[in-house]
C-alpha cells in the first residue's frame, strides 16, 4: 500500500523546472482586471523572450513588495506614493506609461442624481447629501487613494460619514461585487468596470472629468538597495513599454468598442 501511494505521489510531485528569462512585476488589480496584460505579456515574450510574472495586488502592497525587493519592478497608479518610493531610494526613477480614467458607478436609477453633476467634487457632494450606500475599496490601493483625494477635493472627510459609507478592504472586482449586491455607488476604473461580469443593477453614471484621470507609471526597483533584483530585465521591459509597439497595442486595446488606455510615455 505504502509503495503504491509513494509511487503515485512521486509521479505527481515531480515538477519540471522552466529555464526562460523571467522577472517579477507587481501590478495593480485594476490593470490586471482590464485584460490589457493578456495582450501585452505575449507580445513581450515574443519580442524580448522575457517571461513577466505578474503579482496582482493593491498599490499599497505593490509598493511594499518593491521596498522589500520581492519583485523586480512595479506598475502602479498613485503619483504621491510613487514619488515617495523613488525619493526614499527604493526605485531608480518613475516613468509614466499610460493613463485610463476612473468612473462613478451606481444604481441605474441614480437616487443621488450624480449624472448631471458639473464636476467630480460636485458628484461626491451630491452623494454625501443623499447618503445612499457607497462602497469604498478601503485597501490603500491607488483607486482608494484617488477616492480619498476626491473626497478631500469636495471638502468632505469619509471619517465623519455614517453607516452608508462602507469600506470593504478588497480588490476592485470584489468591491464591485459588493456594490452590485448592495446596489451601492462606487468609484472604479473604467477598464475594470467594462470587464466586470456581474453588473446586476449598476450603471456607469459619471465620467470624463479631468480630475478622474488615472496615470500609470513604471518603477524599476533600485539595484543598489537589492543587489539580487533583475534590473537589466526591468530596464529592457521599460524600454519595451515605452516603445512604438507598446503604444500601438495599448491604444488599440478596446472592450465593446471603447478605448481603455491612452499611451503617454514621453522620451526619457
Amino acid at each position: 500500500m505504502i509503495h503504491r501511494i509513494l509511487a503515485l505521489a512521486t509521479a505527481v510531485t515531480l515538477g519540471t523546472a522552466v529555464l526562460a528569462e523571467e522577472m517579477k512585476l507587481a501590478v495593480t488589480t485594476s490593470f490586471e482586471n482590464s485584460g490589457l496584460a493578456d495582450v501585452l505579456l505575449p507580445a513581450i515574450k515574443e519580442d524580448l523572450g522575457l517571461d513577466v510574472q505578474l503579482l496582482v495586488v493593491g498599490t499599497g502592497q505593490a509598493l511594499r513588495l518593491g521596498q522589500a525587493g520581492d519583485v523586480d519592478a512595479i506598475l502602479v497608479h498613485s503619483r504621491t506614493a510613487e514619488e515617495a518610493f523613488v525619493a526614499e531610494g527604493y526605485g531608480t526613477h518613475r516613468r509614466e506609461i499610460m493613463y485610463n480614467d476612473f468612473v462613478f458607478i451606481g444604481p441605474a436609477g441614480d437616487p443621488a442624481g450624480i449624472a448631471v453633476a458639473g464636476s467630480a467634487a460636485e458628484a461626491l457632494q451630491r452623494i454625501s447629501a443623499a447618503e445612499p450606500a457607497f462602497v469604498s475599496r478601503g485597501d490603500e490601493s491607488g483607486t482608494h487613494k484617488k477616492e480619498r483625494a476626491l473626497w478631500a477635493e469636495a471638502g468632505l472627510s469619509p471619517e465623519t460619514f455614517g453607516a452608508w459609507y462602507r469600506e470593504v478592504g478588497a480588490g476592485m472586482g470584489a468591491s464591485l461585487n459588493t456594490a452590485a449586491g448592495l446596489d451601492a455607488y462606487i468609484l472604479a476604473d473604467r477598464a475594470s468596470w467594462l470587464n466586470f461580469g456581474n453588473p446586476a443593477g449598476l450603471a456607469l453614471l459619471y465620467s470624463g472629468a479631468p480630475a478622474l484621470f488615472n496615470q500609470y507609471a513604471f518603477l524599476a526597483v533600485n539595484p543598489e538597495r537589492h543587489s539580487h533584483v533583475r534590473h537589466d530585465l526591468a530596464v529592457q521591459l521599460e524600454g519595451w513599454l515605452t516603445s512604438r509597439r507598446a503604444a500601438d497595442l495599448i491604444n488599440g486595446y478596446t472592450i465593446n468598442g471603447e478605448t481603455l488606455f491612452i499611451f503617454n510615455a514621453g522620451p526619457e
Partner: protein
Amino acid sequence: MNDIYDGLLSAFWLVVTLDADLLEISLRSLQVSLTALVIASAIALPLGTLLAIRRFRYRRLTISLLNALMGLPPVVVGLLVYILLSRSGPLGVLGLLFTPTAMIIAQVIIITPLIASITHQAMRELWAEYHDLLISLNTSGWQRIRTLIWDGRRNLLTASLAGFGRAIGEVGAIMIVGGNIDNATRVLTTAIALETGKGDFALALALGFVLIALAIGINVAIHWLSRTEREGRW
C-alpha cells in the same frame, strides 16, 4: 441558481475539451498539496504515534497545543511564511517567495498539526490494546512506533486524507506566499478567488466543481490503491 447551472455547464466543457490552462493549474494544485501531504505525513505520523506511547513531563501541554494548532488560521501562516521568505526577511537569500516551494512550506505548517492530532487520537486506542504485548516482547521505542503505524494504517490514512482535504482547499496562505502568478504559482483555489473578483461566477464555479471532483477522485484512488473495504478486510 442560473449561475450554478452555468458553472456546471462550463465545468463540463472545460473538462471535456481538456482545457490547457485548467490542466496546468489542476496539476499544480495536486503537485503542491500532495508534496505538502507527503512531507507533513512523514513528520506527523511518527510524531503523533510517539505522543501516544511516550510518557513525559509536558505531554498533556504538548497535546493540547497540537490540538489548538489544528485551527491555525491559514492567512496568518501565510503572512508569517511571507515575512520569513521575503527578500528582506531572515530566509530571503533562498529566493523562495512566490514559488511553489513556498506554498508547500506554508501548507506543511498548516496540515502537520491536524494529521498529528488525528494520528495521536487513533494511536492512543491502539496502544492501549498493544501495550502489554509490545512491552512483554521487550521491543525498542522505534519498533513500537513502526508496529503501531503499520497496524493502524487505515486510521492513519484517514488522518492523511483529512490533511490533504485541508491543503487542497486552502487559499489564504498560498495566495500570500505564492502570489497567484499565472503559469507559475496559480492553483485552483487562487484561480477561483481571481475569477470571483472579476465577477465571472460561471468560470469560478466551474473551477470549484473541478476542485471538488479532484478531491473526491484522489480520495477514491487512494482507498482503491490501498484496498480498504475489500476481501473481508476492514
